[in-house]
């Protein structure tokens, strides 16, 4: 597979280019439109998302017959895997834009920049999903990170938002610095920035005894700090509850879904394509380390979620725990495991965004993110309450909701490799998780609101959006096509 030259690559790269164009257009439109109440900017960015979506599909179907294509002289790669994530990420971005439109906490006057930043971060994530070069990996990661810091701190009048941004950037800078150090070590060992070549060289060097396994291990661990911070895995997770709580809700939703997905894309690309060769794994068996990280991540996430009163924070911890479940699939980096991660990411996208949508609605209505605000929701707005219940039970992993099917794939992948203890830890964790999810359900259904209940009415648009999340959450598990999707999207280990 010969990498395409810069010029040749442009056609394959059209989704990203379109994204940049729309981001620029949004900034310009914002300068033109003076009306602060207008949502033209948002609609332009929505249109952008849709166009990019179409372009992603067109690009994918036009070029997928060529197999994986390496672009820009080996910097990025276009394959089913990256297309899969692009679709996923665009869905998340679209949803976030829609949430932002409805959210009352975002500052109306700054919308132009806001949407431009959203499109820019999407670009970064696209690149994270398709990078095959160390430099590209780092740059895309930094793009996403820097934009995230800004988005998290977007509510400049809100100290919590600023604090979130501060913690986020401090944490992120250290993590990415550490990662860059790891990358430099890797570069130093292999003498190349290309993932494929690194894999080949490392195998040779390890075989020749030129490189000690410890060196590779340290490089991997340092890199894991950067990746782990993106997917919020223990011990790199600590920023996420604070940031999720402080950031605007749509951004929290976006971070918990899109950022995590992109992180997993990077993780899979890096560890599976880069280090997935059996020779490497024999020399440096880092899977056990990942297993420990995975077990710790879900346990810490779930246990810390138990006493939370703030739903956003609770969902932050839950999102950490889900990162742990997802990591299980990555422990051994088998095709089954990767397929399970991809499938779970689809499911997670819908159920988690759905849950955050409800959080947005309640925050708008109650002005509160606390569990008390959910009291008696079932009588005030039954449909919203039922939708929330479905999301939460799906997050718990209870049949017939999609979350169960996702978990089942992950557990099956782990058990397949004989990691019984890890599967057990995961399952017991999902029992624990029921407890805090059910607290919200309890508040919604089993407790009365106290004062006389007034029916809260939501617009049909709200319900339409809600059903966009509810229906997949119920149906995905029963439809073959999603399993197929996730299975064919597993990247192939490049043949050496």
């Amino acid at each position: 597979m010969q990498p395409l030259s810069n010029i040749e690559s442009l056609l394959y790269f059209s989704p990203e280019i379109l994204l940049v164009i729309f981001a620029a257009a949004v900034v310009i439109l914002d300068l033109i439109v003076k009306d602060t109440e207008s949502s033209a900017v948002a609609h332009l960015s929505l249109a952008g998302c849709i166009c990019v979506f179409a372009t992603v599909l067109v690009t994918h179907f036009s070029f997928s017959h060529e197999g994986p294509v390496s672009l820009f002289l080996g910097m990025v790669q276009l394959d089913v895997f990256s297309s899969f994530f692009k679709v996923l990420l665009l869905l998340a971005t679209t949803a976030t834009i829609l949430f932002s439109l409805r959210s009352e906490e975002l500052d109306a006057r700054l919308k132009g920049e806001y949407y431009a930043l959203l499109l820019a971060i999407t670009l970064g994530m696209f690149l994270m999903a398709s990078s095959t070069n160390l430099l590209m990996i780092f740059i895309s990661l930094e793009t996403v990170s820097l934009t995230s810091y800004i988005l998290a701190g977007f509510l400049t009048h809100n100290p919590r938002s600023s604090e979130a941004a501060f913690k986020y950037i401090t944490y992120g800078a250290v993590a990415s610095g550490t990662m860059l150090f790891g990358l430099s070590l890797l570069f130093g060992m292999a003498g190349s920035g290309d993932l494929g070549q690194i894999s080949v060289r490392l195998t040779e060097l390890l075989a020749a005894g030129e490189v000690a396994p410890l060196a590779v291990l340290i490089a991997i661990t340092f890199i894991l700090a950067g990746v782990g911070y993106k997917i919020a895995s223990v011990p790199f997770h600590m920023w996420s509850p604070d940031v999720y709580e402080g950031a605007p809700i749509p951004i929290t939703a976006f971070l918990s879904v899109a950022s995590k997905s992109a992180g997993f894309a990077l993780f899979i690309r890096f560890f599976y394509s880069g280090f997935g060769s059996s020779e490497l794994m024999q020399a440096v068996d880092w899977t056990f380390m990942l297993a420990i990280v995975s077990a710790l991540t879900m346990t810490v996430g779930n246990l810390a979620a138990l006493p939370q009163q703030n739903v956003k924070r609770l969902l932050a911890y839950s999102s950490i725990a889900h990162g742990g479940y997802l990591l299980m699939g990555g422990v051994l980096l088998t095709p089954e495991g990767i397929g399970a991660i991809l499938f779970y990411l689809i499911v997670y996208l819908f159920m988690n965004l759905g849950a955050f949508h409800v959080v947005v609605l309640i925050a708008n209505e109650e002005g509160s993110e606390m569990i008390e605000g959910y009291r008696g929701l079932a009588s005030r707005a039954p449909l919203v309450a039922w939708a929330m219940a479905i999301f939460l039970f799906s997050l718990t992993g209870i049949p017939p909701f999609a979350g169960f099917f996702g978990k089942w794939l992950l557990f099956a992948a782990v058990l397949e490799q004989g990691y019984y203890w890890l599967a057990l830890v995961g399952l017991l964790n999902s029992v624990v998780s029921l407890y805090y999810y059910a607290r919200i359900v309890k508040a919604m259904f089993l407790e009365d609101a106290g004062e006389e209940t007034t029916q809260t009415s939501f617009s049909t648009g709200t319900f339409a959006l809600l059903s966009v999340f509810v229906i997949p959450t119920i149906l995905i598990g029963f439809l073959n096509i999603f399993y197929t999707f996730s299975n064919i999207s597993v990247p192939v280990i490049p043949m050496q």
């Binding site: 944490y171 291990l217 011990p235 624990v432």
Partner: protein, 737 residues
């Protein structure tokens, strides 16, 4: 003809009950449930009589598959032999008479139709038990009669005493039933069937068991007998029967005298072929002890029904003793005669109660009121006053006296029954049957040269004397002498026709006319007992045997009429029954002795209670400990209460029970103790420990959650520290592992 007839016998009463049950759903009832039930019983009686001719020597069970599993089958079916038919006749006859009697006795009761429906259900259950050819069927009938007994004892459930009594009856008998069920399990596991008869039946299979299995078979036999202990109120599970007298008197007559309690005897007789020496001896001892204990308790009772109740227990003990001693026919014979005369006694007492009761009802609107009003004022011989107040006034013999003029028919019929039960010779059936048992026991004793059986004979003989004594005490106190409660006496009157006619019929039946069936050797044949062998040392010459007999006789100071019987012999071996009257010297000896003790008993009774030449009070004072023992019914109830309560730390309650009223026995004992201690403990255990363990896990999880949360201090540098330390640790852990 057999199947349709038996089906008819069973279905008629069942239909009568079903009609009541179905209408009951709509809270209605058939207007003449009494006629319906009675008619059903009379049809049954006719059919039973018709069945007399159908008996064949080796009956084949008529069975259907009831539960068929892959490997085993439980079938239900009829087994019709002579004993079955006789039982059928007895049950249907007594039941019919009780039905008729109840029309008068229960007249005006608000739940009058229900009473008859229950009676029908009982009759069905009892008849089902009787005709069943397998243990499962018997067990089903067994439990169903228990249910009916429960329902009927608690018929006047508004009375707390009745409510307690019915519960006690059910539970006490169930304890025995569980034993029986375990026995059934043993038999089933061994033989893979519960059918008794036929090729693959238990009896046929058990016959081929070898000697190693004898211990096992003995245990199984005794366990099955446990059911009989409960149902037939044998020691130690007899305490429920006296309490069961809380039920209406016709119920006492039918269920707790004539039929249901005799079912235990019937069961034991049915199991006759699998009894071994050990199990037979256990049965005999329990029967004998029961006969004695119950009889002695009866001496000191004042409640007319309780006297009869203890008498029933005592007589049931006789029957058990008879069967345990191998006198199969004698045991069943006594069952039959006892059914009639005891039913008669109960119905007679019912008549008396009814007479008093009617008067009693005048003063009180509530017809079941049993408030203790002024009857304490009358001079009673009560030594332990606390207990006297328990007896309803209309059943208290101390309120009676001189009724023979007021109620002549009742008096005469009851007298006949009393003579019969007391063993007054020749013209009363009771004499013959009781004598058959005594003779059988003595015969076994002599034949086997068995100390056990001599002892049992002595007990039985002694009890026979006591029986005569307390029965005549009852007659004297009730019908003779001066009225002790003039007001009540004035109101008393003879009962209506519906009540007296059954009395008269039963009186006729208490004469030895039914003996015909039993005297016919070909009609009732005792089954073989393949596992019952005479002890090794029992093979002694007839001479010595005779000598033994003579010695025994001389021991009692009687030497007459022995020689005449010496020609008779019983060399049939151990498994040949000796109940047939007039055989062997043993019977002659027994007869003579029994006549003697009966006479003695009657005489003493006459002196104490009629002529009053002896003072019961002074005797009671003299033998105070003994008297107390009898009065407290050998402390059985207290024992059950006490032992269980003693487990508790709740001493106060214990004492309150000893000097307060006699709280009812095992049930409340078990109930109270278990609730207060055991079950509460388990309840706490369940909440605290089992649940607590889970909750503790949850708490710990929660606490860890709190801890994990606390790491999230909010200070960014802590987070960074965790990251970097985490990196170091991950690398180090990996290096170490």
């Amino acid at each position: 003809m057999v199947v349709p007839l038996i089906s008819l016998i069973l279905l008629c009463p069942l239909a009568a009950f079903a009609i009541f049950g179905l209408l009951g759903l709509g809270n209605r009832s058939f207007p003449r449930q009494d006629y319906l039930s009675t008619a059903a019983m009379l049809i049954g009686l006719v059919c039973s009589l018709l069945l007399l001719r159908e008996v064949v020597p080796d009956p084949v069970p008529h069975t259907v598959k009831w539960i068929s599993l892959g490997g085993v089958t439980f079938s239900m079916g009829f087994h019709l032999d002579s004993v079955t038919v006789i039982m059928l006749i007895v049950v249907t006859l007594v039941s019919s008479l009780v039905h008729i009697f109840s029309m008068g006795y229960m007249h005006g009761d608000p739940r009058y139709p229900r009473f008859f429906a229950y009676l029908s259900l009982f009759s069905f259950s009892m008849l089902f038990l009787v005709v069943s050819d397998n243990l499962l069927g018997i067990y089903i009938g067994w439990e169903l009669v228990g249910l009916c007994s429960y329902l009927l004892i608690g018929f006047w459930f508004e009375k707390d005493s009745a409510a307690n009594a019915c519960k006690k009856a059910f539970l006490t008998t169930r304890v025995g039933d569980v034993g029986m069920f375990i026995g059934m399990m043993m038999l089933f596991t061994k033989f893979k069937t519960l059918s008794l008869y036929g090729e693959g039946g238990i009896f046929a299979l058990a016959a081929s068991l070898n000697t190693e299995d004898m211990v096992w078979l003995s245990i199984a036999g005794v366990l099955i007998f446990c059911g009989a202990i409960g149902k037939s109120a044998q020691v130690p599970l007899h305490t429920w029967l006296p309490d069961a007298m809380e039920g209406p008197t016709p119920v006492s007559a039918l269920i707790h005298a004539a039929t249901m309690v005799a079912a235990g005897v019937y069961l034991t007789a049915r199991m006759f072929p699998i009894l071994t020496e050990t199990s037979s001896l256990v049965i005999a001892y329990i029967g004998g002890i029961t006969a004695l204990i119950a009889a002695t308790i009866a001496i000191v009772r004042f409640d007319i029904k309780r006297v009869l109740a203890y008498s029933t227990i005592s007589q049931l003990g006789y029957m058990m003793l008879g069967i345990g001693a191998g006198s199969y026919v004698a045991g069943l014979f006594h069952l039959t005669t006892h059914a009639f005369f005891k039913a008669l006694l109960f119905l007679g007492s019912g008549s008396v109660i009814h007479a008093f009761h009617a008067m009693h009802a005048h003063g009180h609107d509530d017809e079941h009121d049993h408030a203790h009003d002024d009857h304490d004022a009358h001079g009673n011989q009560d030594l332990v006053h606390a207990h006297g107040s328990e007896i309803p006034p209309d059943q208290d013999m101390r309120n009676m006296g001189g009724l023979r003029h007021k109620m002549p028919i009742t008096f005469v019929t009851m007298l006949i029954a009393t003579l019969s039960i007391s063993g007054v010779p020749f013209v009363f059936s009771g004499f013959w049957s009781k004598d058959a048992i005594l003779g059988g026991v003595l015969g076994r004793a002599m034949e086997w040269n068995s100390v056990h059986h001599y002892l049992l004979f002595g007990i039985a003989l002694f009890a026979a004397g006591i029986t005569a004594f307390y029965m005549f005490r009852l007659i004297f106190m009730t019908f003779f002498g001066e009225p002790r409660n003039q007001e009540m006496h004035d109101m008393a009157h003879e009962s209506p026709m519906s009540m007296t006619v059954p009395l008269l019929i039963l009186a006729v039946l208490s004469l030895p006319i039914v003996n015909v069936l039993w005297f016919n050797e070909n009609y009732v044949k005792p089954p073989e007992q393949p596992h019952l062998h005479a002890p090794q040392h029992a093979h002694i010459s007839p001479d010595i045997k005779t000598d033994k007999a003579k010695m025994t006789l001389s021991l009692f100071g009687i030497s007459e009429a022995v020689a005449a019987e010496e020609g008779g012999n019983d060399t049939h071996g151990a498994h040949v029954d000796e109940g047939h009257h007039g055989h062997g010297p043993a019977h002659t000896i027994a007869m003579v002795l029994s006549i003697f003790v009966a006479g003695l008993g009657i005489l003493l009774s006459w002196m104490f209670y009629h002529r009053r030449s002896l003072s019961a009070e002074s005797v009671a004072t003299t033998f105070r400990p003994l008297y107390n023992l009898f009065w407290h019914k050998y402390y059985f109830d207290e024992f059950y209460d006490g032992v269980l309560v003693a487990l508790t730390v709740w001493k106060a309650r214990l004492f309150a029970q000893f000097d307060g009223t006699i709280v009812d026995g095992i049930v409340n004992g078990v109930g109270t103790v278990t609730r207060d201690i055991l079950a509460v403990f388990i309840g706490i255990f369940d909440n605290r420990v089992v649940d607590g363990l889970v909750n503790r896990v949850a708490e710990v999880t929660w606490a860890i959650g709190g801890r994990v949360r606390r790491i999230q201090t909010g200070a960014i540098q802590t987070y960074l520290f965790v990251v970097l330390a985490g990196i170091v640790l991950l690398i180090l852990i990996f290096r170490v592992l």
